[in-house]
Symmetry: C2
């Protein structure tokens, strides 16, 4: 069993549950902070642990280009590479290929694209994207899909949905044939620890080093388990196509189901409508993941509709632009009005930033283009999102 | 008494001592990390506390330009502004005026210069630099001096030294007349806490918030104490002038003495020679501060010559450029050879970076231009410097 989804409470449409992954439990509904390049920008992993982050999202596209999948596989997979012992989900890379790369060419086989970093040419398909995600070794990985653009006409939407279904089938097949190749398994404790033991013994602090060495093997290697693969529902803004996409994706059979192709420019009321109607067609006993949302209000709203997992760059990206979420509304810390403001950012927040620093200091850091600005702002915004989800879970 | 310097051990020329400041004790010999704009770039204050940083250096020039001295004074001084309850030393701004600003014009009265930020025109003199430092409220502040350039001929060196002596006298006079204006004193607990109490009571978490409020007043306000003013010895690379500068600076009378005008391009052997000969003329019972040095080897060397305090941007700036100090020598983490290197940066180091991350991950962060690279590299390099000083102190 790669993933167990245990629902403990149901309130109207919402569900409170625990997702048991090979790298720990995730309480849902959950917001997943985005760690694009194997780092949540500016925040050390021990701080993420202190914030009680239970699952991170990382982007296959970025890691595929740099440092490369082979590199991370050789280093024991993404958990070990970034020293994150808790759960990770990777996307398939498809969405970034569509949004970030140049000169992409989509065929039935897959997508040829140029790297946004150096212009080099690459090819991703259901098989290679799944291979990459097995190499990274996240706990939950995603089928390779085409995110249908908005707006799109009826025939374009159907064709795109049909291709996503064929790609889902191919992703599933590749996964079933290769899931044993996940780096947790190829790396037995005995294979690593001789060199490590030698080094640790040499370091003169045996007991402590020994502990770290053991902790490393225990936390990262899960020889008995495999990853979980999620399918992605497409179908644009068409209720009938969404229903059909859901039914046919479920027929292929996945460990969980994601709703893709939303937050692509459509009005928010439409997003909600599509989410609500799509959820009706999803199995009640599997996790439901709404990709790429949202604002603090939206993550509450979608949780109440029955969504279990969400991710969004908003809290981390907004933090870098000095936009902070508080219980009293949004604050743009760059404004001169905060230059002499001794109050904490959010008096109701107990994060280490609100406990220690004034708005005046945070404004100074932002105005001075200091790196600490990004670090502290990100810690606060993530706390705000995680606290919001804790409240949502308790309210169910 | 603003500063008590208590020597506990003397070994050859070196001394081990405790510097009692209004904001806590500093064990010497000490290395002071540089927090230019009221932040050690990228490192939150609680982490600096965990690293056991006991004193920080901050730059008057930068804070004078942004956010401005009045702003910091109104906010209760630098300790409160940046939420740093431990000791701080500020320089006078003189050195940065010489090294960073444009179009500076030096007269007997002081220095007119243009801001490196926006080209605006400013004037710093012994009086205004001391006023600024009183407004910031660091525990130790520096007389305004002219850093003699290298090389300089005999008459230029003497004239510059003579002006520094006159400026030292004026700095001292201004300080004695105004030292009661330090923001710790103008801000009695009763003046701040009404508003704070109201806010904290409103926040619904009385006990915890009350604790923070109390901690704030206790840590930052020191109504019975004043700052300490250090004089600066100049005299270029001339032993006789250094001796004369030392004797006449001591005659003016300061709480401690700094050796300035070194590390300005002269050969290292010459630096050492001048430090050694200058120390001979400094009082044994006052702290000696060597400004702007050095490498890990140099901070050991100068401590052994009898220096008590040092500061340098090297560990923090090198960290930002991926240059890391380890027990096995310097490592340039950008090199491709580290891309697959699973070892910790320094197997002998117990910092949170070496305990948790591999060289491969640190190399990836640097190559990807990730902010976490700067954060982690800085934590490691500061640990290396602070560990070095701990070893020096224990060896005395």
């Amino acid at each position: 069993m790669s993933l167990r989804f245990e629902i403990s409470k149901i309130g109207h449409a919402a569900r409170r549950a625990t997702l048991h992954t090979p790298h720990g439990e995730v309480e849902t509904p959950a917001f997943m902070p985005v760690g694009t390049a194997a780092t949540v920008k500016g925040v050390p992993q021990d701080l993420l642990e202190q914030l009680d982050v239970q699952i991170l999202l990382s982007n296959t596209y970025h890691l595929y280009l740099r440092p490369g999948i082979d590199q991370i596989r050789k280093l024991g997979g993404l958990h070990r590479f970034m020293s994150w012992p808790r759960a990770i989900l990777t996307d398939s890379g498809g969405f970034q290929v569509f949004s970030l790369s140049d000169l992409r060419k989509v065929t039935e086989e897959g997508v040829t694209f140029r790297s946004h970093l150096d212009g080099s040419s690459h090819f991703l398909s259901p098989e290679t994207a799944t291979e990459a995600q097995i190499g990274l070794g996240a706990d939950i990985i995603m089928a390779f899909d085409e995110c249908t653009e908005y707006p799109a006409d009826a025939s374009r939407t159907r064709n795109s949905m049909e291709m996503t279904l064929r790609w889902a089938q191919r992703s599933k097949k590749y996964f079933e044939d290769h899931k044993h190749e996940v780096p947790w398994q190829s790396r037995q404790p005995s294979a690593v620890s001789h060199q490590e033991k030698t080094r640790f013994l040499d370091s003169g602090d045996e007991s402590e080093r020994g502990f770290i060495s053991a902790a490393r093997n225990d936390s990262f290697d899960k020889p008995e388990q495999t990853q979980a693969l999620f399918g992605i529902i497409q179908g644009g803004m068409d209720h009938a196509l969404r229903k059909e996409s859901a039914e046919r994706t479920i027929e292929i059979g996945f460990d969980g189901y994601a709703i893709g192709g939303l937050s692509v420019g459509e009005p928010r009321a439409l997003t909600r409508e599509i989410v609500e109607s799509t959820i009706e067609h999803l199995p009640k006993d599997k996790p439901r993941y709404l990709m790429g949302v949202g604002t603090p209000e939206e993550i509450v709203e979608y949780s109440n509709l029955g969504i279990d997992m969400m991710d969004c760059v908003l809290p981390t990206r907004a933090a870098r632009h000095g936009l902070l979420f508080t219980s009293e509304g949004k604050i743009s810390i760059k404004q001169a009005r905060y230059a002499g403001d001794e109050r904490p950012l959010d008096p109701s927040c107990s994060c280490q930033v609100c406990r220690r620093y004034s708005r005046a200091y945070l404004r100074h850091l932002y105005a001075s283009n200091e790196v600490l600005s990004q670090v502290l702002n990100t810690i606060h915004n993530l706390t705000y999102y995680l606290d919001t989800m804790r409240r949502v879970r308790h309210s169910i």
